[in-house]
């Protein structure tokens, strides 16, 4: 089979052979992908400085919006740009910024020109040092009326990060046990034992 040290178990893959490490040209060519640029331009044209285009990469456009604008931007994405479902909704905890980010990855089944595209819509909620999930300032408007498919994803983020989604019809626990009384476990201050 293969040569030298490839047979080591994965956990100890620390081959010291930096010369063969191929690092492709990380520098992006200045020319942004045209189609993706078009999507970003349409959003900027509509919302101006209220949104921030974080990046435009092949097949991926990311926009950051404030929590007050997220519903309006999401409606625009659905009604005008034809993004019709959420592939994934992720929470990311940023204790140093005192914020919790919620990232929606939106895709489209109906518009064939968008089938490769994922639009990343990110917004941030205020983070509490001592969370009381549901009863503190960590709140965001729910996108469930706009994208039906976020229902279970938002429930998961509520229990894992403590972000309460206002307007969500069913803000119950989904995966965690009913008697879980600790911190929301995917927050950075919830530490795994021994780590």
């Amino acid at each position: 089979m293969s040569s030298d040290s490839d047979e080591e178990p994965i956990e100890t893959t620390t081959e010291e052979n930096p010369k063969s490490t191929k690092v492709s040209t990380v520098e992006k060519e200045l020319e942004l992908p045209k189609f993706e640029k078009g999507i970003a331009d349409k959003i900027v044209e509509k919302f101006g400085t209220r949104i921030k285009v974080a990046f435009v990469k092949p097949d991926r456009v990311r926009i950051n919006v404030s929590r007050d604008d997220v519903k309006e931007v999401a409606s625009f994405l659905r009604d005008v740009l034809n993004f019709d479902h959420a592939e994934s909704v992720s929470g990311v905890d940023y204790p140093q910024d005192k914020e919790i980010e919620v990232v929606y990855h939106l895709g489209s089944y109906t518009d064939s020109s968008l089938s490769r595209q994922i639009l990343v819509l990110a917004t941030r909620a205020q983070r509490e040092e001592n969370p009381i999930p549901g009863n503190d300032a960590t709140k965001l408007p729910s996108l469930r009326e706009i994208f039906y498919s976020v229902e279970f994803h938002e429930r998961e983020i509520f229990e894992m990060f403590g972000v309460y989604f206002q307007g969500h019809p069913d803000n119950r626990r989904l995966l965690l046990p009913e008697d879980w009384a600790d911190l929301p476990p995917l927050r950075k201050d919830f530490a795994i034992k021994g780590r």
Binding site: S20, T21, H85, H105, Y109, R116, L174, L183
Partner: protein, 379 residues
């Protein structure tokens, strides 16, 4: 730290009148997998359903934040051990983009072959359980036996029957064993011949059709609205397969088609994975033919590689549908956040819609036709 007590703890059941009975199916019920399905029934008919997953939640995403990019591999495949290549695939593709690694051509073909073999192994397992759910014991025995053909191939290829941990950033862990191509071709051809025989005993069986046709119908609009994926979506008439729509590795160069059915019922949903297996056989044969006969299969990485200050979202078509991985990196050897957007979790949202108005006896067949794997949904 106390949780808010005003919110209903766990499952809040709806107010019901005397006619309606609430049943807990699972989590130790053979008809529910590792989850609980709360159904409210009026006589024999389901009026409401509330899926309650989480019994096999293992915190994979949390664990991933404590391990570096390479040591994450063996545990991230655990949610679906019999489809382990496909669940690792988006993670590995994402790490490659973060670290800027070019994968050798031969490794890309080996990955595609492993992923397609794994898709068949997963689907055979799923089909066996589907058979037993319907009380069709032949359909349990046959797939469970025929699946060994492909498990043997994967064992030759990776050294493990399940939990292969074969994909690593930069390629695959090891090259194919000598003479693998011939053995693989022979086994896959035989496998294809075998699964075609399932038509006579299972898919064309009038009893099966009577039990599953027109039950749990999901319309095209609802399939899109609910954001379902994979076989559920394609059984409802939406032609969306990541391998075609956003090809990764070498899928662009391979010859295959996607299967779409219009009915959207349990029968169509259970037929799509079977049809997909035949396409997988085609892909494997074509990939064996086009694969470079020699060459490197793995780029060596620096110890403890660090990603930049970036995030990446990659997705692949797994045995159950689109499987995405969102990785946030913050210039450390460990990822800042790993999110697996798994098809089982995405398809689960359809269950209450499908079961409403169904007979209770149809619940197992409708539920399992979602191509659902509870352990994956919980992560």
């Amino acid at each position: 730290m106390k949780m808010n007590t005003e919110l209903p703890p766990g499952l809040a059941l709806q107010k019901v009148d005397e006619r309606i009975m609430t049943l807990n199916v699972g989590p130790q019920h053979p008809g529910s997998g590792h989850m609980r399905i709360i159904v409210q029934i009026d006589g024999d008919f389901i009026v409401a359903c509330d899926p309650d997953p989480g019994y096999v939640h293992r915190g994979e995403e949390k664990m991933a934040e404590y391990r570096n990019y390479i040591t994450n591999i063996p545990h991230l495949e655990r949610p679906v051990i019999h489809d382990s290549c496909n669940i690792l695939y988006p993670y590995v593709l994402g790490v490659e983009e973060l670290l800027g690694i070019e994968v050798p051509e031969r490794a890309k073909y080996i990955r595609v072959i492993a992923a397609e073999l794994n898709r068949c192994v997963y689907t055979m397992y799923w089909l066996a359980i589907y058979g037993i759910f319907l009380g069709h014991s032949t359909m349990f025995m046959w797939p469970a036996g025929d699946r060994e053909l492909l498990i043997d191939l994967l064992e030759k290829m990776t050294g493990a029957r399940v939990t292969h941990a074969h994909f690593v950033p930069g390629g695959v862990r090891n090259d194919l064993p000598p003479n693998f191509e011939d053995v693989c071709l022979r086994q896959v051809n035989y496998f294809e011949k075998r699964i075609k025989e399932y038509a006579a005993v299972f898919y064309d069986n009038p009893i099966l059709i009577a039990r599953t046709a027109n039950t749990g119908v999901l319309s095209r609009e609802d399939a899109i609205r609910l954001g379902t994926t994979g076989s559920v979506l394609r059984a409802s008439g939406v032609d969306y397969d990541i391998r075609k729509k956003e090809p990764y590795d070498v899928y662009e160069e391979l010859d295959f088609q996607t299967n779409v059915l219009k009915e959207g019922d349990s029968y169509a949903r259970s037929k799509i994975p079977w049809l997909d297996m035949m396409e997988s056989c085609r892909i494997i044969r074509h990939a064996l033919q086009k694969m470079p006969k020699s060459g490197s299969v793995r780029v060596k990485l620096k110890p403890n590689p660090k990603g930049g200050d970036a995030s990446v979202y990659k997705r692949v078509e797994s045995g159950r549908g689109s499987l995405g991985c969102y990785i946030v990196s913050d210039k450390k050897p460990e990822p800042y956040r790993v999110k697996l957007s798994v098809p089982s979790f995405r398809n689960l949202i359809a269950l209450p819609y499908l079961l409403k108005g169904e007979k209770l006896g149809n619940m197992p067949s409708v539920y399992w036709s979602l191509n659902y794997w509870p352990v994956e949904a919980d992560r």
